[in-house]
Symmetry: C2
Subunit: 332 residues, 2 copies
């Protein structure tokens, strides 16, 4: 570790690397923000991250994602793989808190050191959800979790971006949801490396499985990894059916990525996205800091229609980008 690192952060890094749960939790809180401490911590942790298998799990509302995460975690634990979970939950725009934050279905793991669960709210004061959640992935990765699971609802650009920043993307579908849900679903299906159909005890489940297989048969646009045949795994949280198979497919996908060279491609794509999201986040912070200053005058001109929105935005940027970075952190 560099000597310039504050002692407090040095200790925290050591404890995270040792997998101490309270320190991991504290590091994740720091990772969500961008204070000077946070910058120092993340710079150090980045050097120790890169070993975990990052799995993204998404699906439309009502698809049964949380139940699937619980079942999956149980199965991974049977195989003695440790699991760090980041669940991105819908949240109140006013309170900012995550609504599903308590994650009642996951309490079965409270006593298990091999499982760490973190709930993050979809709305923060400054945006930057993707940046913040992907930084917390580094913490769990550095802490030595074998699998880092990121769960998001598959609606909203940020949510889909986050889950795409995984090595393996699992999309959960449930039989018999409404029309609008089905339409939204279509947008998420294409990012899957593995499809799971939940609630296969329901009578219309075979139809859902067939539909997905039919879609895959027609060809899968965009992802460009021709050597992986996206499987469709029918499961039931009720009976436990298919969960073992799902874990096998997740591990098979990891092996495929490593053996085909595709892992390097994905890791670069993920890093590229993270660098861009982080740059956007830093700039957003700078813009927000101008709220009380330059923005007020521009706002008044725009309100009086003496200036249009884009001209005001460019002027605001002119001010913001003249700010110089002080020290290591970006004016926290």
């Amino acid at each position: 570790m560099p000597d310039t690192l504050p002692d407090e952060i040095k200790t925290l890094v050591d404890e995270v690397l040792a997998g101490k749960a309270r320190s991991v939790a504290r590091a994740m809180s720091l990772a969500e923000g961008r204070s000077e401490q946070s910058e120092a911590l993340m710079a150090e942790l980045h050097r120790h991250a890169g070993r975990a298998h990052i799995v993204g799990l998404t699906g439309v509302p009502g698809a049964g994602k949380s139940t699937m995460v619980a079942a999956l975690t149980r199965e991974l634990r049977k195989r003695e793989l440790s699991v760090g979970i980041i669940a991105i939950d819908p949240s109140s725009p006013f309170s900012g808190g995550a609504i599903l934050g308590d994650r009642v279905r996951m309490t079965g793991f409270a006593e298990d050191d091999g499982v760490f669960i973190r709930s993050m709210a979809t709305r923060g004061a400054l945006g930057g959800l993707a940046r913040a959640s992907l930084d917390t992935v580094d913490v769990l990765d550095a802490a030595g979790f074998d699998i880092v699971l990121i769960e998001t609802v598959g609606v909203g650009q940020d949510e889909v971006d986050i889950v795409q920043a995984a090595h393996t993307v699992v999309v959960v579908s449930a039989p018999g949801l409404g029309d609008e849900i089905q339409a939204i679903k279509a947008g998420v299906l294409e990012i899957a490396d593995i499809h799971v159909v939940s609630k296969c005890d329901k009578p219309d489940a075979p139809r859902t499985v067939q539909d997905l297989q039919g879609m895959l048969h027609l060809g899968r646009p965009g992802k460009g990894d021709k050597d992986w045949a996206t499987p469709v795994v029918p499961t039931s949280a009720e009976t436990g059916e298919g969960i073992e198979d799902l874990v096998a497919k997740i591990i098979a996908h990891y092996d495929h990525l490593e053996n085909s060279g595709e892992m390097e491609v994905r890791k670069r794509q993920i890093l590229e996205m993270r660098i861009i999201k982080t740059a956007e986040d830093i700039l957003r912070d700078r813009l927000m800091r101008e709220r009380a200053g330059k923005l007020q005058g521009l706002l008044e001109k725009a309100y009086q229609r003496d200036m249009d929105v884009r001209a005001a935005a460019r002027d605001l940027l002119g001010v913001v980008t003249e700010l110089k970075r002080k020290g290591g952190a970006d004016e926290p």
Copy 2:
């Protein structure tokens, strides 16, 4: 109009102000982007916008938003109010197209000059959904539509931000949706100026109405407009029940905003948000343009773990913010 405006844009502006549908459509396409033409157009249109009543309509998937928009439009037309509609639809991350784009339920208005419908996809190559959709609001506003309706699904930060950039926010709830949907709903309810319950022909609808009233009775955090009592309007698209009442409430809210001085407050908040979103959008474009350049070297360092993500992001920003703006447009 300034003499420096290209002739083509001058003509387009004149035609938009005259409400010519094809020109409005063309102007909206330009407004979504940020070409040089787009900048000139938006600067000019901004001076003519500001008269429309902007109404945001949102709700969770399955709440019946599209049906509500159709019923609402029909009722507004009865009152001889013209309606411009921007529907933000879920879309494919690969094709980029809007999945509900055809808007089959709205075809009843195809022959009506007093109704203009535009579907926008939630995912574009460069993000910036909020900026793009709010710029198209200016086009419809300048074109003289009395009401501009923005419809989004109430999941995802962008989607909620967009609908909050309206003078009046209508949140649609439906009885009897699943648990996860209910949890997501809680995050959207707080932004409502008017609650609508759809599908009130269903037996569990009175319960939904009561729940909303109960929640409002407990106090409504954050919005800060103490003089407006948020109504709950039960409706049925089947029977037409409540739609007249909903329109009356929307107009009453407009009158309230104008008479209380709250409209000025909201207009300033909306402009502030738009300026910030536009500044973010310009910077995102600049960052993306660096993809082939500076970013590659930083990415490689980050991949080799010689540099962490935040340091790479700051370096990238250093390059991007040194770029100077050329002419009126931001290097389009």
